[in-house]
Amino acid sequence: MLFHFARLLLLGIFVLVLSGCEKPATTGQKDSGDLVVRIGASAPLTGPQAHLGKDNENGTRMAIDDANSKGIVIGGRKVHFELISEDDQADPKTATIVAQKLVDNKVSGVIGHLNSGTSIPAAKIYSDNGIPQISPSATAVAYTAQGFKTAFRVMANDAQQGRVLGEYAAKNLGAKNIAVIDDRTAYGQGLADEFIKAAQANGAQIVAHEYTNDKAMDFTSVLTVVKGKKPDLLFYGGMDAQGGPMAKQLKALALKMKFMTGDGGYTPEFIKLAGDAAEGVYASLPGVPLDKMPGGKEFEKRFVAKYQPIQLYAPYCYDAVNVMIAAMQKADSVEPAKYLSALAGISYDGVTAKIQFDEKGDLKGGAITVYQVKSGKWQPLETLGAITTAAR
């Protein structure tokens, strides 16, 4: 009997601890009389991309902490920003649930999601509820092509990135026969498709197009297929969690082709996972290198002091929050309906770049930088074309 009681008690405590993890729902007022403004954020905080999701959350949090310490006044009242961070597991289905949850929590705006696959379906929910959404990192063309007035991004899209990479592979690296692998996500597939178009336009041949998924660890079978087609360059459309091991397995299979990937692979994690196979790998990142960003150096110093080394998109998250707050200040309102038009017409000097949106919500004039791993570090090779208006 006593044993049963003790077990019940233990269960009760466990449930309490679990429910304690939920953020208590506060009303719009803080005790001090400040106006509490909720900013929603969503990224995969669990699963294979959790390290990137946490990086995004940290970038967002830093911007919110900064804004709070500045004591911003909007509409005559001191504003206290509050972050509501949700885990979308990089899963499109979960993303819609999370989006609805954020809407129900009455957020004034959303920073997210991290992936294209999650940002695209979530955009509909934010649009239906009139809540501005700024994705720091969704690069699929489809995200802003849905025609929602509330969807923005602070990073160049895949049409720009894929084109630059395809051109770079065919022209600068002189690749004639190219193999492509993508992870069948909105991002990986979109990037690979744009890459293929550009590579073919520049005279290269696509000798193989193979597929994997965003949870895979073993790529030996598809790489063996690629090996049979004898390409001189392999392009991977996907994230670092697969790209790194893929580079390693490529080397283990003694394949001597060049390896190239997009912004999803441009991380320190990639180099760690690929080991010495990372040497010579190419990747790209929309925007300019961190140390060439207007506020890059200083941001990095503060971020590293507070959290850990930047994985990937943290500076973009930081900018996304600041752009949103700048729009609120400009409109002198935290009401989504009121500051939305201010956001669409904003011009803001961020850490990553000067941020202005075009009529679709895409970043104007986004540059793309190609990087290569040299002696265990990503080194910028070339920053290419702000050719934004074509091929949309």
């Binding site: 030996t220 063996t224 790194g244």
Partner: protein, 357 residues
Amino acid sequence: MEIFLQQIINGLVQGSVYALVALGYTMVYGILGLINFAHGEVVMIGAMLALSSLTALISWGVPPILAMPFSIGIAVLGSMALGYGIERIAYRPLRHAPRLAPLITAIGVSIVLQNLAMMIWGRQYHSFPQMINNAPHTFGGAIINDIQIIIIFSALAIMGGLMIVVHRTRLGRAMRAVAENQHAAQLMGVDINRVISITFMIGSPGLYLHPSVVRHVDSRQRHALLVPGENQHAAQLMGVDINRVISITFMIGSALAAVAGVMISANYGLAHYYMGFILGLKAFTAAVLGGIGNLRGAMFGGLLLGLIESLGAGYIGDLTGGFLGSNYQDVFAFFVLIAVLVFRPAGLFGERLAERA
């Protein structure tokens, strides 16, 4: 040809790991009729423990040649303790509950372990230290490296060891005798308790393997003997210490899982808190393919699934003239699974046990 050979090697490496993990599923199913969905997480914990101890040992200056077996030992012991704990906490209190209840706790344990690992080891990917000189060998145009050779051969050795114990030793003969006719065996002076306990230790479903057992033993009687969870009363009357038997089964399964975890991490050079989930799913599929509850089925199913996957990915595009690509790799594997189950509902090596679902 060298491409074909390479795909066979890829499939064998992957399949050996599936087989080791599938054995854990099948052993637990054999005695409890329970699908232990947390088993994939045990693989992950094994890999993580090996990673942590390896990193620690190397930083203390222990030579790699000593550090490797030592950390595998830690992984195996840690996983065995974990397997024991999982059974004790999440399954034993539900032994008499409807079948669905322990299935749900199994999924719950899986999620808890994943999150626990995320809190302990963090969200980032860990690169697994490379302990042996992983030189690639060319073999008929195909490439295989040392770790892959070790994986294939040690998995085969472990599985072969189980088979030898069941079929070739005095102990194995005693087991089969007990399975055939318990009372007679007792009269002959076979220590039933000991035999049954040891049987479970090395994987109870082994008893199903022998054709004569399958043919002669009345299935009801076999249940009483082999499936204490199914008919605890009868087994208890026979003097079997049920709890001990089940605990040992979980521990053996977990030990195999830890070995598999270390193999994967060493091969791909990485460890991550999420790595067990998909692997667990695949290994479970392999166990079903081979006939869940059957030792030989799990081994064969694992190797077969590995080969199907790699050959499927390799040739599905060419076979269908580019209509289907390697994105249908998993579809292909599951298509084979469905085809097998249509013609042999209990899997390749399984027998029909309709009342156990």
